[in-house]
Symmetry: D3
């Protein structure tokens, strides 16, 4: 349950409306995720977050599919159910296969395990890895 109302298109302030327009144009779809309908209650944070997100997830050196898989990995480690669902769906739309998803799960699980083992043991970084 949200702490704020999810705004309908009719309730958007002008600054939020123009972000919605850009989201729709960028993703080439009329559907806008409920995250934006919640964040639209604070247009400056929404605009700033959207512009940064669009830039970070836009065309670059990494494949769009890989970018979404990295997003999913971080979202799992932060326990964000909404983000896991929406970015897993986005990764699939961008080409992630079942086999790739299975490997992602395997890596996230092993990283979680060794992260905690290393922290439990307090191992300092090997001198050979110093930049």
């Amino acid at each position: 349950m949200a702490t704020v109302r999810l705004l309908t298109d009719d309730e958007l302030a002008p600054e939020a409306r123009s972000v919605f327009d850009d989201i729709r144009a960028t993703y080439n779809t009329d559907y806008v995720n409920d995250f934006w309908r919640a964040l639209a209650n604070d247009p400056p944070t929404m605009r700033r977050t959207w512009l940064a997100l669009k830039e970070a997830m836009g065309p670059g050196a990494l494949e769009p599919k890989v970018k979404e898989m990295l997003y999913v990995a971080v979202s799992i480690a932060h326990g964000c159910e909404y983000c896991i669902h929406t970015h897993t769906a986005a990764a699939r739309r961008k080409g992630m296969t079942d086999a790739e998803y299975g490997e992602l799960l395997g890596i996230v699980g092993m990283a979680a395990q060794t992260n905690r083992l290393v922290q439990a043991l307090g191992v300092p970084v090997d001198p050979v890895y110093r930049v």
Copy 2:
């Protein structure tokens, strides 16, 4: 500082020694990370962890470089300094460019930001994303 002693090759129990042999053969190097020298104090956990890690990070559908980048992403979200250093180094060895590393950082940062915004707002998963 570690909670256990980092074992030298001479101090390894037979079960741990055979894991060291496999690590050296798998990575084709004589160097064994200090994590394993710490975990070698408990050979069963070390063997189990190594075999699972070798399988999860072994050849598959995803590029080795991408696998390491996913590992780095999770390690950052868990705040594991050791893991971040060693897997960032591994990703570079496997071909991660500076541009790709910059994009990884950008994605991890934006995911962290939107993960917390979504959790702050308590947005339920949009019905359209239900499997």
Copy 3:
């Protein structure tokens, strides 16, 4: 879904009942949050937690509204949906405006982002910040 039953007033042990009395007197309301009805299954932990909470959140140098906003910020970072909802509501009751809530969201999001970037990069604390 809770791991324990939420106790009704009639089911409280005497030690838990006296904590309920103090909660009602402190907040000047008959309503007691379900968190306490769950924790009432273990009266010593409930009493200890309540007394410490009452002291930490009681009158002091910081405004009550700011105290609740700090509580919300921590709860978001820990991903505690219940705590986010109840303390966001409490912050509003104590005067947090929509604009202040928007700024809180913006700060939490940016802190999450830079926290993870700093950890990714492993930056040591600048010598000038040493106490």
Copy 4:
């Protein structure tokens, strides 16, 4: 130890140099934190992060001191040693007293405790808190 080199002023790319100029002008000091010297290795992420941070932490409804204290609270929950140090120092520069810092610690500690108790008990949000 950082995963990248901390760049000196002489090593900055033009895009990073102009961000440094803005940081110095905004904070009215010649000193630039090592975080920016690390992030300067990826100018686009650095520029985007700086502009968003400047906006989120700039003048608004909340006092600058309170904004920094919220930043500290999130940084503690994420275990970011660097961020804790630099933002605790910033909060003090902006007027946080010892008494206020003590209350911040008390609130962060109690929030951490009750966050985990609530999650342990799995308490659903009380219907009265639904927006």
Copy 5:
């Protein structure tokens, strides 16, 4: 809501079916948790996870009840609602009393509190605790 379908017994691949057989034999029950029905979509990760879990949670130096309580403690700190529920139930089946559960809650809460206070204060490990 799951990101994958929960597989029925009839939909299992042979590798997943043999893991189900081992789960049923190990726990001496026909009921298989939905976690495995989800993970069965990726048989290699499922098999690897099951075998490691069976070994880590199998007979050893610690009582089965204590092992489950440690599992619960970690799951609370990671905010995994599913894991908290299933392992709290398992700990009870293996003999955890109400008094022991109350003490577990108390310890998890105090550890969370002091963990964050220590991180807030940045206290280095006392030299006397060096191994």
Copy 6:
């Protein structure tokens, strides 16, 4: 590096001094951990934390060794290096054997792995586990 000075015995306020006396009497040792020397800068938070900790970790239904092991497990999941070191040392003083420590590590690692797998897959709690 700490954000506050570690106070010597001579610098303690009376309220902090009396907590130090109680710590020394409770643990029957003259040594006081640096955590308390840091927290002594805010006597009310220090006193409140100490009294709650003494009660939660005092005699009860669980063995002192098990209580410390639960403390270690939570501290690992929160990535608190200081807490991991001091409570691992305390668990050893209270009888934790090398074999038990190895099992603790194994359980923490597997819990971390399955916690994240469950969250990745978004598995709802099985109806049979509802209280």
